[in-house]
Symmetry: D2
Subunit: 329 residues, 4 copies
């Protein structure tokens, strides 16, 4: 049994808190949010204690801290929790500033703490099976990867402004998925566009992108992103090798299809957003983290994975500005 505290009780923190409260090998001890009402609501829903301050949690007998607060607080909380001897599961991104991420690592790396970054898609049953089948050699050497990732609709512009931009906020998941499938990346090229909402442009961000990656292995990868998708949360992967292709597709609420005079085999819209689409992934993520804490094993998504995805986002941003392919490492 691993005793947890959850820092940050917004939408995603609340979801994690509920998952922890129901997990057979986890116990949710404390919850905290800078907005006391948010924490109170989650405390009531889960039976956890509401902490008044972060320090109360760091001093308490919890083994693990799940950080789901706003991005600008992630790194500070992560460092403090590690220094307080806790295991940490931190939502992505670790931070928006790569230099800070590296400086913090220098400070904490000797502690050997269990630190995991919330790249939930690594735990999606379909993406996980796709990767396992690549590694089992079903398609031979991996040559090309195509990642489709479209949000159903844009977040509020207020969020966009503090998000670090599309690459650090949204594509970061796809950068991680590319690394999960292909290994480290040698070069990045990015193209951005303003297609969805002029307010996003005014806020200094793009709302659609197409990115090309070259892996150190020689494999190449395309990512396509949009902040809008009419038919739901579009999350697909294609992986090509010398002997075949593996695809992982979208999820729907039912298997019903409709046939009539204007269309046939018409299926439901795909599940609408990350909490619905990745429900099993979030549960498996927690499960894996509990295993790591209990058994002292290395998480599937490490601090370095968080750092590398951010480095790819930075490289994409540089490519967007210069038009140039950016080499890494």
């Amino acid at each position: 049994m691993v005793k947890f505290a959850v820092l940050g009780c917004g939408r995603i923190g609340r979801m994690h808190a509920l998952n922890l409260a129901r997990h057979p090998r986890a116990e949710l001890g404390y919850v905290y949010d800078i907005v006391a009402d948010a924490a109170a609501s989650v405390a009531e829903a889960t039976g956890a204690q509401q902490a008044r301050e972060v320090e109360e949690i760091l001093a308490a007998d919890v083994q693990a801290v799940l950080i789901a607060s706003s991005t600008d607080t992630h790194l500070d909380l992560l460092v403090r929790a590690v220094e307080a001897g806790k295991a940490v599961l931190c939502e992505k991104p670790i931070d928006l500033d790569l230099a800070k991420v590296d400086a913090s690592w220098a400070r904490i790396k000797e502690r050997g703490a269990t630190i995991m970054v919330g790249f939930n898609r690594r735990f999606d049953p379909s993406f996980k099976a796709l990767r396992a089948r690549i590694q089992a050699g079903e398609i031979g050497r991996l040559e090309q990867v195509v990642i489709t990732s479209r949000d159903p609709g844009p977040p509020p512009v207020a969020y966009i402004k503090v998000s670090g931009g599309l690459f650090r906020d949204m594509t970061i998941h796809d950068f991680d998925m590319a690394r999960y499938l292909m290994g480290d990346v040698a070069a990045v090229h990015a193209t951005g566009a303003h297609l969805v909402d002029p307010a996003i442009k005014e806020a200094g961000d793009i709302d659609a992108a197409m990115i090309t990656l070259v892996a150190q292995s020689g494999a190449i990868c395309q990512i396509s992103n949009s902040r809008r998708c009419a038919y739901g949360y579009d999350q697909r992967i294609e992986a090509f090798g010398e002997r075949g292709m593996l695809q992982a597709g979208n999820q729907r609420p039912t298997t019903v299809s409709f046939w009539n005079a204007s269309a046939t085999e018409a299926k439901d819209p795909v599940l609408n957003f990350f909490i619905e689409r990745y429900t099993p992934a979030y549960l498996a993520e927690i499960d894996h983290f509990v295993d790591c804490v209990e058994q002292g094993t290395a998480p599937l998504a490490t601090y370095r994975d968080g750092r590398e995805a951010l480095a790819l986002a930075d490289a994409a941003l540089e490519s967007l500005k210069t038009g140039q392919t950016v080499r890494l490492g």
Copy 2:
């Protein structure tokens, strides 16, 4: 909060007990099985108390009893539970003897108890959506229904011998599904075959069947059954109307598909058996029954539904013997 006891702790009783233990509005008070070890194991897994006798449960402060014991005990337990003032959720079939089912009804009907029969497929999200869309008029008047229902493999012959035969044990779900979609049935014709295992034939049963139903509405329906299916638990429905068709298909563990030189778009085998395939249905079934008990509303699958499905099984058996279309009611 509805307090439950579970009678019968075999595979399906255990599953229900675990679902009840996790349900936010249910409390699992007691479990019982004639095999004390089976009950003890479920008691340990759920935190429920193990009853030594059924009487202990009938006398206890439980509001609802879930009957998942062997078929020959269903009806007696149901009657006793109703007479003890409990709400009852009883696994199918209520009994193998239609006369007894009717006699028991005569005895308990005045009590107005909440009695639900475990036709779990009515709660499958896809089948439920298919029915709702028929009723919303998407395909116009319902004209034809095709139900495909194949088990991945045959049960032990010892089970076959006490099962009441394929129609009462397996097709009973499909008879209920036909009634759920089309309403009451006016005529039945059945063809049986021995295709899977000679031991089933020796036990006096068939292992595959094709059945035709005529509904009172004029709609017609085909059911195909087999005790064996190489690719998993095959559970599909097609509903045709004057303006189109609705299909509900099989479920798979992932969305991954494989393309190579010998096949393309090859998907996973379908989920293998009823507990995996109908997980969401069993949860929704419990949820609905808790609603009915709390609010005093009528269950979606009533004692009469259990009775009618059994009557269709009997008619199918008669048709199998005579070769004749059998008219009902």
Copy 3:
């Protein structure tokens, strides 16, 4: 090069005539229709000579006669053509009267003529591949077959009245397909319904049906028919064996699918009727018949196949009247 005459220049005769005119190893010498204008139009479109009388064709130097006239003339023309030494490709059904079919056979069988019945679906590339894969053992022993066959809309009632009824006119193709896949049939049960058009009922026919067949091999089969299908010409087969299932599906004009807020992966309506749906089958049928004539080999669809399909239609009609399973031979 095989020289042909076409008897009957309606919709299907015209199609065959055009296919023959373009065939590299066939030559269309003559066309005839009792309606002279129909023959004239086809003669003009194909460059064939218009015959004034059937006798002119029987006396001419044609090796093969394709009979696509009205059903009541098929058998007489077939016998006369065989007696004139021609090879014959005759549209289905040979006749509506089984006794006449048998009597004619007694008269012509000694001649050893090449006689083929127009069961075009045997030549459909998908159905042919499905059968070949069954015979190659991909699914092990064949156990169950499900044939779906729905016309997009009913023919004129005037046609219904002379058609011999649904079983002899429409289901006859499905009876033949069942025999093509399973071999000879031992028992038939049929259920009919009036769902599409009251005028069809007034004309003494049904407009929808569900039929069960038992093959001599022990395999069982369901056929579902309707004179109406909102989404096009619904032509599908499922074949189940101990090791798997083979499906053959509908055809669409394009591969385009549409995804939006109300539906995803919505495809085109299926091809609308037999000439579009079975274009490659009709071409392959002619090709096979030319081979048979040139090489003296036996056709894939024989006079006996025509006779047996008609016998199944008669048995279905008897079952429809009596409610009884009808045993054959």
Copy 4:
């Protein structure tokens, strides 16, 4: 009736010659190939006359010339044919040298000849329907396009050496498809890889590529290419707009799918190469060109379209060398 000559009787020239010979409104007068045996074989198969020299054809009474000779001869033959007053259908690419393409245009543009470039994919029924539905507004404003284009296997290295490289030989079709769907292109970035055959690398070419285009409209596009594809000729398009997505998929020889213990719904490999995959497109292309010649209307794929696709290939090559996004015009 339009009288044609075909210049070049290799694989694709032969296919065009056979299509012309069967076309109801075309007459194939002459065929020519620098390899006399190749021309003789096509002459025999089609009944056309074999020309000894190109001049013989230019002087003859043919209205239209189809150029399917080796790429290095295309432009010279095109100019000479136009100057001889012929309509021209020229296989892609017009030439490998953009300056020559422009110089030749300056020389012939005043003649107003009917000149069409063989971008066969514009005539594919599925791609054509996809474009028509975009233009009809089904998905709203077009925002993103993803083009998948993989050959089943690499051509001989000897061919690679004279092909102008992957972009001018293979991607040129995809560049044209991008323009067909999105209009003119403003910027190009290309990444190449050596994944398939070291001999291609030695020959100075790449064998896989991922390309990003920005259209003048603001829409963005990804193309992925490979000289190898295990499951056949992979030809797919996805077009995203503000209101939905349209997909066009691969083609298979049958609709059969296979379900067993290791995979379900497994379909045939896709059609293996361009002549099989694009059979209906090549027929429709000829049909359209005949229309243009007969009616004096503008072809759907013009000299300028050929020029622009080549300019995109050149820009991609420059991007490949410099790593930079290349802006056009």
